[in-house]
């Protein structure tokens, strides 16, 4: 087994629990520490990808382009990656990110909608970037269908495709089956991005690795949406224990997680009752804070909102449905109260 390439996404996925309030200074501190600990790729963007700063998802405190430049400036070795969701961000933001030094782009679509990404892969290759597909909410479709979508992305120019467990709803067997199916369908790398809502972020990452994943995502201190992602420092420790030469410095990562990142964090994401519900109902991890807010606003249990969103088959990025569901539930509750 070969060591996978690790991408740290605490400066992108971690933007969700940070409520998109990262500052230039924080990004410089964290990017430098990750670079020094040997992390080869660092993702920096609004949590919902380039152009995500909005009422729908939350406004960025600092424009993401400034954060990308800040990360680029302090990294000696690491590549800077950005996330792009077609329909949210556009080719304009991708051009600007490349101009500021991003050399990797992860182009994310719902796991059934790969064909909205063709023009973005085209531009990424034109800009000379490494372009990876990101099939979100991958638990919602069987492995064969995901493999077809991955092959489509490869036909557009993707250098590799990730299985993205956006809901943290998979068990290790689900991760294994999906990574295997993609391995058989594409020539490029297969990657895996985990969330920890059911407590399987690390276990699923290991299963993906054993099934042949060549790229794995982590977030320092697990800082990501919902109950967070596979902690990068734990991935590093795991790779050491497997005897794989990852190039990561486990202790440096532990120090950065504890001494640099933890003091910046408003809370430690863990699989608590709402986050477990997200994994259980199979909804987008970023719904967590939005559902809590709607719960407070309408006097509802966030769990009821999340379960209903799962029943309605809400997809990635559909934060606006939370208000809709909360209104409906509040109306139904009022009708029941005598």
């Amino acid at each position: 087994m070969k060591a996978p390439r690790i991408t740290d996404s605490c400066l992108r996925d971690g933007s969700h629990p940070m409520r998109h309030q990262f500052t230039v200074e924080q990004v410089r501190t964290l990017a430098r520490a990750l670079d020094e600990a040997g992390v080869p790729v660092i993702e920096v963007s609004h949590g919902d990808g380039l152009g995500g700063s909005s009422i729908q998802y939350g406004f960025s405190h600092t424009p993401e382009m400034e954060l990308i430049s800040a990360a680029r400036e302090v990294c000696a070795r690491a590549k800077i990656a950005v996330l792009l969701l077609p329909g949210v961000g556009t080719q304009n933001e991708l051009r600007e990110a490349a101009r500021r030094g991003a050399t990797v782009v992860r182009i994310a679509t719902q796991c059934t909608e790969a064909d909205v990404s063709q023009q973005h892969f085209g531009l990424a290759k034109e800009l000379g970037m490494e372009a990876l597909g990101f099939l979100m909410m991958a638990h919602m479709r069987p492995p064969e269908l995901l493999a077809e979508q991955a092959a489509l992305m490869e036909s557009y120019g993707a250098d590799g495709v990730y299985v993205v467990d956006s809901a943290g709803a998979m068990l290790p067997g689900d991760a294994t089956a999906r990574v295997r199916a993609l391995k058989n369908a594409i020539r490029g790398d297969v990657g895996f991005h985990a969330h920890n809502n059911l407590g399987f972020a690390l276990g699923n990452s290991l299963a993906a690795l054993e099934a042949g994943a060549a790229q794995i995502d982590g977030c320092l201190r697990g800082l990501g949406a919902g109950s967070g992602n596979a902690p990068t420092e734990l991935l590093a420790a795991m790779l050491d224990k497997l005897g794989l030469e990852s190039g990561l410095d486990t202790f440096k990562l532990c120090d950065a997680a504890e001494h640099l990142l933890a003091p910046m964090m408003p809370f430690q994401p863990i699989p608590n009752r709402d986050a477990i519900t997200i994994g259980y109902a199979g909804v987008y991890s970023t719904f967590l804070l939005h559902a809590r807010r709607a719960g407070e606003q309408f006097g509802l249990d966030p769990r009821d909102i999340l379960v209903e969103l799962g029943r309605r088959k809400a997809m990635a990025g559909q934060e606006d449905w939370i208000l809709d569901v909360a209104q409906d539930l509040a109306r139904a509750k009022k009708a029941k109260t005598p």
Binding site: F59, T90, N92, Q110, G317
Partner: protein, 302 residues
């Protein structure tokens, strides 16, 4: 004596063209559909039109240009094709109603700005998200200045065709521009999400409006109600879910009051399925625009 009518043609024999045909057959108003033109002799659309007794041609725009009596042409082809068609139609003195993203003529949203473009020879329908959301942003804007408008259109995967998918950025740019130019927002942003759920979901739009200053909630609500009723005249399945939500959010410039609107658009189901409200609102708006032009042509001829 039969009622005088203006002759119209549909260019493009796909789903949009077919839905336009059924709308004109159901409710011709001041229009007479005299030709349905495509370029594929074997297309289902042309066969369907023939079965309904409509004259058809597989020679595309050439057949339309040959008929001097055709005054209004719906272009339901593609942006690339319309770029060619626009000049030819203008030279022939025909009014073009452009349902592609080509946008050679001004953007129109019937209840917001059609009156300003009654002399135009080519008008563009923007995007489905634009037709759905711009009227409501405009309705807020006529009561209080709008600093920022943001919309999220969620459509069923099955109702998003290859044109939309291959150029999804076009939706984002064009809709945002329409929200600014016609909606009156100083800045705007548009997001689109495809949802693959089965059975397919109805077209849903969330509209966030951030007024520039303080505003009268009752006046905003009333203006929105009037506008909704006006759109319902040509899109019966257009409805606001619940009352407007007045809230406050954190922005980079400090806390700001917002208005959030949840809009559902159910299609009329003329040819396209009811869930495809995004496509229906395009064809319904196009028909509404054509009726207004036709009535004007009849009045000037009388």
């Amino acid at each position: 004596m039969p009622t005088p009518r203006i002759k119209a043609a549909i260019l493009g024999s796909g789903n949009i063209g077919s839905d336009l045909m059924f709308k004109l057959l159901r409710d011709p108003g001041a229009l007479e559909l005299s030709l349905f033109a495509g370029i594929d002799p074997a297309s289902d659309g042309l066969a369907r039109a023939r079965a309904h007794g409509i004259a058809t041609s597989d020679r595309g725009i050439a057949a339309i240009l040959e008929d001097r009596d055709i005054k209004i042409v719906f272009d339901a082809t593609s942006a690339k094709a319309h770029a060619r068609h626009a000049a030819a139609l203008a030279a022939a003195g025909k009014i073009a109603i452009d349902l592609t993203p080509a946008a050679r003529g001004p953007y129109v949203v019937p209840p917001a700005n059609l009156r300003e473009h009654l002399d135009a020879s080519n008008v563009n329908l923007i995007t489905c998200g634009g037709q759905a959301t711009i009227p409501l942003v405009h309705a807020v804007g006529r009561v209080t200045p709008v600093a920022y408008a943001e919309i999220v259109s969620t459509v069923a995967s099955r109702s998003a065709g290859p044109g939309t998918r291959q150029n999804i950025d076009e939706f984002t740019f064009t809709t945002a521009r329409g929200l600014e130019v016609i909606g009156g927002a100083k800045a705007a942003k548009a997001l689109i999400i495809l949802n693959p759920a089965e059975p397919p979901i109805m077209m849903r739009n969330t509209i966030y409006v951030l007024p520039a200053g303080d505003f009268d909630e009752a006046a905003v609500t009333q203006s929105l109600e009037h506008m909704t009723a006006e759109v319902q005249r040509y899109v019966p399945g257009y409805r606001l879910k619940g009352a407007p939500v007045f809230d406050s959010i954190r922005t980079p410039a400090g806390p700001r009051r917002t208005i959030t609107l949840l809009l559902e658009v159910t299609g009329a189901g003329d040819y396209l399925p009811a869930y495809a409200g995004n496509l229906d609102i395009m064809t319904a708006s196009a028909c509404r625009v054509a009726q207004v032009f036709a009535e004007r042509l009849l009045a000037s001829a009388a």
